[in-house]
């Protein structure tokens, strides 16, 4: 093992062990430089028809947790949300795809409108 390998392995060990610590990691060594690593632990979206469209149209701008953080909205609310994402923020959603995305959200994280039941 090279010296570099050893020191990296040692750092890894320290990093793992220190994840027990509930406090924040020690401040940066150079107070002028702050670095942030975006975590990559997004939960997988549930399998259902339309999933690939949701991945392509929604997850460009935000992670799946943005969907999971919401309550199980009725179809009406999900429809309005998808519409807002499209019209207000320019989400790349083709007109013919809107219903598929709403169907996916209703099926995996929503419910039908009360009056429709």
């Amino acid at each position: 093992m090279t010296r570099a390998t050893l020191s990296v392995a040692a750092l890894t060990l320290v990093a793992l062990a220190s994840s027990c610590d509930r406090r924040a990691p020690t401040p940066p060594v150079d107070p002028n430089i702050h670095v942030f690593a975006l975590p990559e632990d997004d939960p997988p979206l549930p399998e259902a028809p339309g999933k690939s469209l949701v991945v392509g149209s929604c997850l460009t701008c935000h992670s799946a947790r943005y969907i999971g953080d919401q309550p199980k909205f009725p179809r009406k609310t999900w429809t309005a949300e998808v519409d807002k994402m499209k019209k207000t923020y320019g989400a790349p959603i083709a007109p013919e795809s809107t219903k598929t995305i709403v169907d996916y959200l209703v099926a995996t994280h929503g419910r039908e409108d009360e009056q429709a039941q």
Binding site: M1, T2, A4, T5, L6, V8, A9, A10, T12, L13, A15, L16, A17, S19, C20, D21, R22, R23, A24, P25, P27, P31, N32, I33, H34, V35, F36, A37, L38, P39, D41, D42, T60, C61, H62, S63, R65, Y66, D69, Q70, P71, F73, T77, E81, T88, Y89, G90, A91, P92
Partner: protein, 395 residues
Amino acid sequence: MFRLDRRAFFALAGAGASSLAFGCKNDAPPYIDKPPTRFTEKALDLILHTDRPPNLETPLRYFRTDITPNDAMFVRWHLSGLPLSIDARAWRLRIEGHLDTPLSLSLDDLRAMESVSIVAVNQCSGNSRSLFAPRVPGVQWTRGAIGNAKFTGVRLKDLLVKAGVRTGARDVTFRGLDRAPLESVPAYVKSLAIDRANDADVIVAYAMNDAPLPLLNGFPARLVVPGWFSTYWVKALTEIRVLDAAFDGFWMAKAYRIPKTPDADESPAELAKETTPITKINVRSLIVRPEPDETVSPGRAYELEGIAFDGGAGIKRVEVSTDGGATWSDARLGADLGRYSWRRWRATWTPPGPGTHAILARATSTAGEEQRATPQWNRAGYMRNVFERVDVRVG
């Protein structure tokens, strides 16, 4: 460049993992394949709402101190293109627009100017959105999209004087280093009317609790507008622009708006026709102890505790009810850290016997503003300030 010796890496990683398993008392089980998300400069136990962009809520237990620690201050970003690395030496704050002398200031330039410190409540417009009925879309905060900290920096007013604002100035806009993920997504730009911008309490802060701002809270400098919701407290501030016209950008004209009705109340069946930008924090209290899932012992004195705050008048009175709102008595108020700070309250309660008891709290500001007895509702989930309530199990 070097490559890790895989065998050595896994052996050591394994050793690290077992120390994780043995070393963490009171921690959640160590799911080695999915460790809890750690955010730079942040405590591990913040409540994760979303990771990209990051939105983290502060658990109630952190509100047992008057000053919220930097690693526990809540985090709210709108756009996933937030700055991932900032070198404070290269950072500049540009002050441009309807001015005699546009400026480009370094952090050292700011530090060389007269500094002011102010303790202020930093509260998200949508704090407690998840408690709205019916529920509304947005980050589903419970009660922890709030914190109280000492902010140090320079008066915005001093910067504007230095830049020589020309007559006819109307609005001042603020922009940070964050970028939209798509061109069609509006950049996060907020504005203050020139008179508000010239208020001596508005500062460009480069320190929170005497330390540099965590990157997720706006390093190296952010706007602090005491008494107003955090939507104006633009993080990683990089551009201040003085306009001789009204600003009509998306985040003022279309987002962060409330019904133009008393307490921002409307109903899903009848949405208010007129809306206006959200501004001032309305009076509210929080119950910090007991927490919703806490069980307390009968017959033993218990110290109820919480905080109360408003948009800058200061808190005059907090009342507590231990019988679901039938009778009320005054709580004791704690240290006064300034009119923009929250104020601690305490009240002693001896739980009468086993069962569930509804504890309520309501605050009144020195301006006479009171909390609502019934919850308001609005489409965006803003400004909740109904009497606080926690149902406590005694047994």
